[in-house]
């Protein structure tokens, strides 16, 4: 669209800027403030420079949490994106079942995150949960509260349960926007199903899939509530991802300096990676 150049448009965005600035800039400055100071209690602070940043960046604990976080994010992206696309491809395009499918699939997205965690906790408990009991009955030695491997399996299954629908809905939105004429043309040319997918459906879904990857990437990096209710980061530290570790340091040990420095590093990592996705997305949009 041809946009008019007019700086008066700033008046329209002013309320948004004011509200978001109140919520974002003031707390962010608080975090920055803590991250460069040292305290021994009594609200007395000393300048600490980049000490906390060095400490966090060199600590093994942060490296481990970051590694687990990256492993988690890439695992769920690798499962959810292809699975979501596959489900969207097999969904009916019209008819009375479409709204039923959409509503049922979107349901997990609207459940409060701690309820998701609690639900999966009682679903997976080895003694009273349907999943845990069934797996043990099938001969697996499954106990997600004791064995790190099982905890990871449950965590990833929960995330797949919770968020694959987002990818499905996005991919589906892309698919229904393809005009029928495209498919007819492909049929006349004798295109195989894979060729239809590769040259018609995939290009049309590219834009929405970038949004899906961007949203899933950002949100999986921020996962806190479901995880803290499900495993609390345990057993041991095996599922302690970045946000769990951060809350342990900030609210558990009240180490404000290191917590603030870690917050900023954490935020910057998300920001940098999201910027890459965002740039790619906007480039797609201009094409």
């Amino acid at each position: 669209m041809n946009k008019t150049h007019d700086n008066k448009a700033w008046f329209f965005v002013l309320p948004v800027v004011a509200l978001v600035a109140f919520n974002a800039v003031i707390p962010l400055m608080t975090v920055v403030n803590y991250s460069v100071q040292e305290t021994f209690g009594d609200n007395v602070f000393f300048w600490a420079g980049v000490m906390w940043f060095e400490q966090v960046l060199q600590s093994e604990r942060f490296h481990d949490a970051l590694f687990r976080q990256l492993a988690f994010t890439f695992t769920i992206l690798l499962i959810e994106v292809p699975l979501g696309v596959a489900i969207a491809l097999t969904m009916p395009k019209k008819g009375p079942w479409v709204p039923v499918c959409l509503v049922l699939m979107a349901l997990p997205l609207l459940i409060p995150w701690n309820v998701v965690g609690a639900m999966w906790n009682i679903f997976a408990l080895p003694d009273i949960g349907l999943l845990g009991r069934s797996l043990n009955a099938l001969g697996f030695d499954y106990n997600f509260t004791r064995q790190p491997g099982d905890a990871w399996f449950t965590l990833i299954l929960m995330d797949v349960w919770h968020w694959t629908s987002l990818v499905v809905l996005l991919a589906y939105a892309g698919l229904v926007s393809i005009p029928d004429a495209y498919y007819q043309a492909a049929k006349i040319d004798g295109a195989k199903p894979f060729a239809v997918f590769r040259y018609i459906q995939l290009p049309k879904m590219k834009r929405v899939l970038t949004i899906a990857v961007l949203l899933r990437f950002m949100d999986s990096f921020m996962i806190y509530t479901e995880l803290s209710v499900l495993t609390g980061g345990g057993p041991g530290n095996s599922t302690t991802l970045l946000s769990i570790d951060l809350v342990k340091i900030a609210l558990g040990q009240f180490d404000l300096g290191p917590a603030a420095a870690m917050s900023l590093i954490y935020f910057l990592i998300i920001l940098a990676l999201s910027w890459v996705f965002y740039t790619l997305m906007m480039r797609n949009e201009q094409q």
Partner: protein, 266 residues
């Protein structure tokens, strides 16, 4: 389409329903039955857990509080996002692209980073433990989202509509309120739905910013779970009730939901 592929969505929906079924199933059981035996259906069907929730103010006020701040948040977010989204979709102005990305960065900010500073900020302005505090805090990620969705829907409306309206003698506000807003009503509905959704499911900030008077239902649940040991039936009933508002609002936007998740840009 092959015959087997038709079962993929069915299987997927079954997988989605299993944990929900287990939760609902548990909410109708007595604590003894939950801990004592393993049953696929409640043997002694009881409504006791639901009765407790609807008669005890510490429980049902949790729902009232949650719905209050979610409603306030949705109204604020959509109202301020409307003119901003219009500006982004129609005008080019100084710093527009940077501003848009800055707004999005707030959607990327992990709530864990902001929990403590938010507590201090809202205590300082005297809003701590009010629904308004949570509603305002949730605008941090809901306003950028609302702007993003509305901008997508507005960019789909041709600019000729604006120009024709001015030629017909409409003033800007008369055009905006009487013609433009009704045109993108679906987009507004979808934006409101998403604000509702993300404010309803978020707990970390809602829990940090409240203590007694404005405590959300989700926080009531976590505190009960830790203080009174294992009242799983009650917990399951409370969880089941939190699913209902979501299922209710989703029904209204069912035809737009796919487009909405694509942020209006399909």
């Amino acid at each position: 389409m092959t015959r087997t592929s038709r079962y993929v969505p069915v299987l997927y929906i079954l997988f989605l329903m299993l944990p929900i079924y287990w939760l609902v199933n548990m909410s109708f059981k007595t604590t003894n039955e939950i801990l004592g035996e393993f049953t696929l259906f409640p043997r002694e069907f009881t409504l006791e857990n639901y009765v407790t929730i609807f008669t005890d103010p510490t429980w049902y006020m949790g729902y009232v509080n949650s719905i209050t701040y979610v409603a306030i948040n949705t109204v604020i977010s959509v109202l301020v996002a409307l003119p901003a989204a219009y500006a982004f979709s129609r005008y080019r102005f100084l710093g527009d692209k940077h501003l848009f990305f800055w707004l999005l960065t707030n959607r990327m900010a992990p709530p864990a980073v902001f929990a403590l500073p938010f507590f201090q900020l809202y205590s300082a302005v005297g809003l701590f433990d009010t629904p308004l505090a949570v509603a305002l805090a949730h605008t941090l990620f809901n306003i950028p989202l609302a702007v993003w969705i509305l901008e997508g829907f507005m960019s789909g409306v041709p600019k000729e509509l604006d120009e024709t309206a001015y030629v017909d003698g409409h003033s800007f506000w008369s055009f905006f309120l009487k013609i433009f807003v009704p045109t993108i009503a679906a987009g507004i509905g979808v934006a409101a739905f998403f604000c509702f959704m993300f404010s309803w499911v978020e707990l970390l900030l809602a829990k940090t910013l409240t203590s007694v008077d404005a405590k959300p239902i989700a926080a009531t649940m976590t505190r009960t779970a830790s203080t009174s040991g294992y009242e799983l039936g009650l917990l399951a009933a409370a969880g089941t009730l939190t699913i209902i508002p979501g299922a209710f609002v989703i029904y209204f936007v069912r035809n737009y939901i796919a487009k909405g998740f694509a942020l209006g840009r399909v």
